[in-house]
């Protein structure tokens, strides 16, 4: 826990001035505010009764009081300003670091986690760190100062009465921590049920149309009611337990107040021998302290719970930060000119060592050739993409591009020789222009329009409300086909020598599909291309067909060779051919 705290604090280092000021201002501000009751007490002592009021003393005390109040106000305000800056700037840095980390870890790491999980690290966990660790720290610190200060000031007035208060102190702690503990368990259960309810609602209501299509309403309601009822029950319990805190600590506070009141009053009339006489003003000050004494205890017990949350959030965030990065290879060779030749030499690869996938794979691709990858859905066609673009590293053999071993080429340089269009299109929130010019941010408007026209995307872009400046996002109403056209335009603008294309099949209407096909053809002119193929014409025209099944490369060769072989491909082809 302390290691984690220390690490969070290391992020606060550039802002340590704010940290130091927070501590100083808290000390001064809180101490000054604690001095207030003393002067109030003094002032009350000057007003003994009718005709016995010492105005000179009152005015003097009131003036001092006014100054103290003003000073304390300013110090507390400055303290807030400093913690604010400290907290927000620190978490800004942590957040940027985590994000940068995600850009630098191997793709493997991102594939192994869900997107929601990682997003929650960057967003929610870091917010919790801010609330718990940084702002909590300020509260904790001023809470402790308040408690210690109160005790000291009380002792200054009268040590013996203060002892009564100190003896009663553990009572506050016990009550507060008991309730916190009681609350904690029910809260954990409550948030578990809330999570269940939210995911059920998201699943059901998110697919409301299917619910209706299958007349599933009643069964969905039954399932919802079951969780809803349980949630309501535990929620009422958790809320009740947590709402006990205030009255209970108020009660303890009242007990301390009463004790001080009685003991103080008895002392004032001199009937408690060992304490000695105190004035009414001193009693008033004491009462004021007793009144505010337990408040910080409540706050501290709240802060401690938040702190625990924050520490576990910080641990999750640091776990991401501790992930190994893809080693920097910018010192490796830059592939200046790529002739489009590519070969696989005895390549071996598997995601998990126990399940070998690709073994001893050899393939020579000449510039301008087309390689079709075919196979049933889920056969692992993306593995080829992962290897070509070095998202994953091959474990055996070599891949050679343009006569150079890819191991010797800088990753960025290697990737820039490839253009990739996937079926899962990626459109980010931004204008159409920004989306197309993603790989070439300094492209001129003419270039962008030229690329769009070349891939038949210009027509629909033109019709968007703001043309190329229309802000789009993944779910902003563009059809799947339109999104894919934008992704093709993105590559067209780059004009890389090697291509990886994923022929779309799903939810694209015919005309768009034809346009995409034409766009692909344009894009492929004179380039070496790997095509994840679904169309027979593409497959038959390919120079090499890779037939894949469950991750393995089953057969390779051209159409005629594979038909002659009479294997898996021949079967696949015949089943299709028999139909027409």
């Amino acid at each position: 826990m302390f290691k984690t705290l220390k690490r969070v604090m290391s992020y606060a280092k550039p802002y340590k001035l704010y940290f130091i000021f927070t501590v100083i201002f808290a000390l001064v501000g809180v101490s000054l505010s604690l001095a207030v009751p003393i002067f109030i007490g003094k002032a009350v002592d000057y007003a003994v009764g009718k005709g016995a009021v010492e105005f000179e003393g009152i005015i003097k005390t009131a003036l001092v009081l006014g100054v103290i109040v003003l000073l304390s106000t300013f110090f507390q305000w400055f303290m807030s300003l400093c913690t604010n800056k400290l907290a927000y700037l620190t978490i800004r840095d942590i957040r940027c670091d985590v994000f940068a980390k995600l850009e630098r870890v191997p793709v493997k790491f991102i594939d192994s986690k869900t997107k929601g999980e990682l997003t929650s690290r960057v967003i929610n966990d870091i917010e919790i760190i801010s609330d718990g660790l940084l702002q909590g720290f300020a509260q904790l610190f001023s809470g402790v100062v308040t408690i210690l200060g109160t005790i000291i000031f009380m002792m200054l007035i009268n040590i013996k009465i203060s002892l009564f208060v100190i003896i009663l102190t553990p009572l506050s702690f016990i009550v507060a921590s008991k309730i916190t503990k009681l609350t904690h368990d029910t809260f954990v259960e409550q948030s578990k049920l809330r999570g269940e309810m939210i995911s059920l609602t998201e699943e059901m209501t998110g697919n409301q149309k299917i619910i209706k299509a299958f007349v599933y309403e009643e069964r969905a309601e039954e399932r919802f009611d079951k969780i809803n009822k349980a949630f309501g029950k535990i929620g009422a319990k958790a809320t009740f337990y947590s709402s006990v805190t205030n009255p209970a600590t108020r009660f303890v506070n009242g007990l301390i107040y009463t004790t001080v009141g009685i003991v103080g009053a008895l002392s004032a009339i001199g009937s408690v021998g060992f304490i000695g006489l105190i004035s009414i003003g001193e009693l008033t000050s004491f009462l004021a302290y007793a009144n505010q004494y337990t408040k910080p205890f409540n706050e501290i017990s709240g802060v401690v719970a938040e702190l625990q949350n924050a520490v576990s959030s910080a641990e999750r965030v640091f776990a991401v930060l501790d992930e190994e990065e893809v080693p920097d290879d910018s010192d490796k060779e830059v592939l200046e000119k790529c002739d489009g030749n590519l070969s696989f030499r005895n390549v071996g690869f598997s995601y998990v060592p126990e399940v070998p996938l690709i073994q001893d794979f050899n393939l020579d691709v000449k510039s301008g050739q087309k390689i079709a990858i075919v196979g049933p859905t889920g056969c692992g066609k993306t593995t080829i993409i992962n290897l070509l673009l070095k998202f994953y590293d091959i474990q055996k053999g070599d891949i050679i591009i343009s006569g150079k071993n890819t191991d010797d080429i800088a990753r960025d340089s290697l990737r820039s020789t490839f253009g990739m269009v996937l079926q899962e299109t990626w459109i980010f929130t931004g204008t159409v222009k920004e989306n197309i010019a993603y790989g070439k941010p300094d492209a001129s408007m003419e270039e962008i329009i030229k690329a769009s026209k070349a891939v038949y995307a210009h027509n629909f872009i033109k019709r968007l409300p703001n043309g190329y400046d229309t802000v789009i996002s993944d779910n902003s109403g563009l059809s799947q086909g339109q999104k894919q056209l934008l992704c093709i335009a993105r590559i067209m603008l780059m004009n890389p020598p090697l291509l990886i294309l994923d022929e779309a099949t799903s939810s694209i209407d015919l005309r768009t599909e034809q346009q995409i096909q034409k766009a692909f053809e344009k894009l492929m002119m004179g380039k070496t291309s790997f095509i994840i193929a679904h169309r027979l014409s593409t497959i038959k025209n390919a120079d090499v067909i890779l037939v894949m099944q469950s991750g393995h490369i089953l057969e390779q060769g051209n159409h005629n060779q594979l038909i002659a072989k009479g294997g898996f491909y021949a079967k696949l082809y015949n089943s299709q051919f028999a139909e027409t």
Partner: protein, 575 residues
């Protein structure tokens, strides 16, 4: 608002008793300073030890009673709030289930989810806080002022001046910070969007080597976020110190003027102490009140949003017919059917006419947005035609019970959505009592049994949310099989074989022909070859049927169909 508050009706008792006990506690709290003042004046003033002890005991009793009353109130509050919340959620969920497709389109599913989860929660919290604090805080303020007036009317003027000043400051600060916090939240949402998009595009970003730019973009968004948060914090951090200052300056004033009143014999020293106590109480109560106002504002806004949903009613009136006439020749007939989506400017379907025989097959082909899916969605009456008649088994669709019609129409949506649960659970969506044999038969027709059989736990294999552990083609096949359960008379396949490879697609179509002879099939597809066997093919273009007929007749007289067919044929040249 009223539509939401109605669910409080079962909790009237708690709603009245809760605040009542809270008020009792507050009264007891107000008495304490008075008792203390008595101890100072009478006890200390008269040197009366017995009186001090007696009053001390009274204070302890007051404390215990206060605690008991407070706990009773908190109990009622939590019972009422969560009981109400549970009832509200249940009713809201039920209502959402009664909404039509147009209604769902209007709100969007993410809005509906938000209403059920977040908005009901904030209304629930509002009710809880209402019972606990809505009466207590103002009562403490007013009570403290009245109590001080009773002690000394003239000195209480100080309260009448200070209370509004503090209230005003709280109001001013909050009215500035609330919009700022909202803006901060928006900035936080933006960083979340950036993060999600980046994770989704990991491969593309790396393929373009744009990581460093993405990091830069993100840090800009992060800076905006922290700038906003710091600004909001700057303003809100004024609140506590300034109210502290005004309260204490008020105390200074009370001491000075109180001194004068004590000197003239109008009040005692103990009274002065009580005055100072009340001042502190007022400030604390005002701060609570301010937070309460925020909670209420949120709760009221949520309640209004929920009301909007309750006010929205399903416009489709269900009929009562719960059986079909098996002697009718046609299973589906469309006569001059036109349809327009709510709020749309033009018809999505115009004058559609066709008839399909029982056990026949209707093919629909056309571009995106040409109205294929819209046409199919009128058959289970998901939407209501604006004009013309849809006839199912010889009867106007309006005569049928809405649930019944959806039961006899099996539906395979474009996007294969599966639900958390086992394969069997998913297959039982149309019929909770479906037998394993029936399920396996359906899976076999959909060409899904071949892989389900190989799964480690077969039908009991658990599908994770969204079906992440299955491939696209596998999901699609299960979604197809799901629609065959319960012996539907009509099955709609909305471009639902797109992720299947040729061999599987072919085997599937063969299986339909062999196994579902009496079932009317509506098949929407992009591929002309998939529809060649259909009894009737409708060629859709921009909401209109530009051709209706068999494959051969369309080839002869439908230009659009020819265009589609030839372009696809060209791709298959050389076969």
């Amino acid at each position: 608002m009223k539509r939401v508050l109605v669910y409080l009706k079962n909790y009237k008792k708690q709603l009245i008793l809760g605040p009542f006990f809270k008020l009792l506690e507050a009264i007891f709290e107000l008495i304490v300073p008075v008792v203390m003042a008595k101890i100072i004046d009478n006890g200390i003033g008269n040197n009366d030890k017995a009186y001090i002890l007696k009053m001390g005991a009274v204070m302890v009793v007051l404390g215990i009673c206060g605690l008991a009353f407070a706990l009773i109130c908190q109990y009622f509050a939590s019972q009422c709030a969560y009981g109400f919340g549970t009832d509200l959620r249940k009713a809201l969920y039920k209502h959402i289930n009664s909404l039509s497709y147009s209604n769902i389109d209007k709100f969007g599913t993410s809005t509906l989810i938000n209403r059920i989860t977040n908005d009901t929660n904030s209304v629930q919290t509002g009710v809880n806080m209402f019972i606990r604090l809505a009466f207590r805080a103002p009562f403490l303020v007013i009570g403290a002022i009245i109590a001080s007036m009773l002690i000394d009317l003239k000195l209480s003027i100080a309260f009448l001046i200070i209370t509004p000043i503090i209230s005003l400051i709280i109001y001013a600060v909050m009215s500035h910070t609330i919009p700022l916090y909202k803006k901060t939240q928006q900035k936080l949402d933006k960083t979340a969007t950036l993060t999600r998009e980046n994770l989704e595009g990991t491969r593309v970003i790396r393929a373009f080597s744009r990581q460093e730019e993405e990091i830069k973009n993100f840090s800009i968004a992060c800076n905006e976020l922290s700038d906003n948060a710091i600004l909001a914090g700057k303003i809100s951090s004024i609140l506590n110190p300034v109210t502290f200052m005004i309260m204490n300056l008020g105390i200074v004033a009370i001491i000075y003027f109180g001194g004068i009143r004590v000197d003239s014999g109008n009040i005692s020293q103990g009274d002065l102490t009580a005055f100072i106590n009340y001042m502190t109480q007022i400030l604390l109560a005002l701060v609570v009140l301010a937070n309460l106002i925020i909670t209420f504002t949120k709760a009221i806004a949520s309640a209004n949003r929920i009301s909007d949903i309750f006010e929205c009613q399903n416009e489709i009136v269900s009929g009562s017919l719960k059986n079909t006439d098996d002697n009718s020749e046609y299973s589906i007939e469309f006569e001059n059917v036109s349809f327009m989506y709510e709020g749309a400017g033009a018809n999505s379907l115009e004058n559609i006419n066709f008839k399909i025989k029982k056990g026949g097959m209707l093919g629909i082909i056309g571009g995106t947005g040409s109205g294929k899916s819209t046409l199919a969605s009128l058959i289970p009456r998901f939407y209501e035609a604006n004009s013309g008649t849809v006839t199912i088994f010889g009867k106007d669709i309006k005569e049928y019970d809405s649930e019944y019609i959806r039961k006899i129409v099996g539906n395979v949506p474009q996007k294969a959505v599966l639900f958390t649960g086992s394969v069997r659970d998913n297959m039982k969506w149309a019929d909770a009592d479906a037998s394993d044999e029936e399920i396996i038969r359906a899976l076999k027709i959909a060409q899904a049994w071949e892989f389900v059989e190989k799964l480690p736990r077969k039908l009991d294999t658990v599908i994770s949310q969204g079906g992440k552990n299955l491939s696209g083609g596998q999901k699609q096949r299960i979604a197809i099989a799901r629609a065959f359960i319960g012996n539907p008379k009509i099955v709609i396949l909305d471009d639902s074989t797109s992720a299947l490879d040729y061999a599987t697609d072919f085997a599937f179509r063969k299986a339909i022909k062999e196994n579902l002879k009496d079932t009317t099939i509506i098949m929407i597809s992009q591929r002309a070859t998939s529809l060649k066997d259909a009894d009737t093919i409708i060629v859709m273009d921009d909401g209109k049927a530009v051709g209706t007929g068999t494959h051969e007749s369309l080839l002869e007289n439908c230009e659009v169909y020819n265009e589609i067919y030839n372009s696809q044929l060209r791709n298959r040249e050389g076969e």
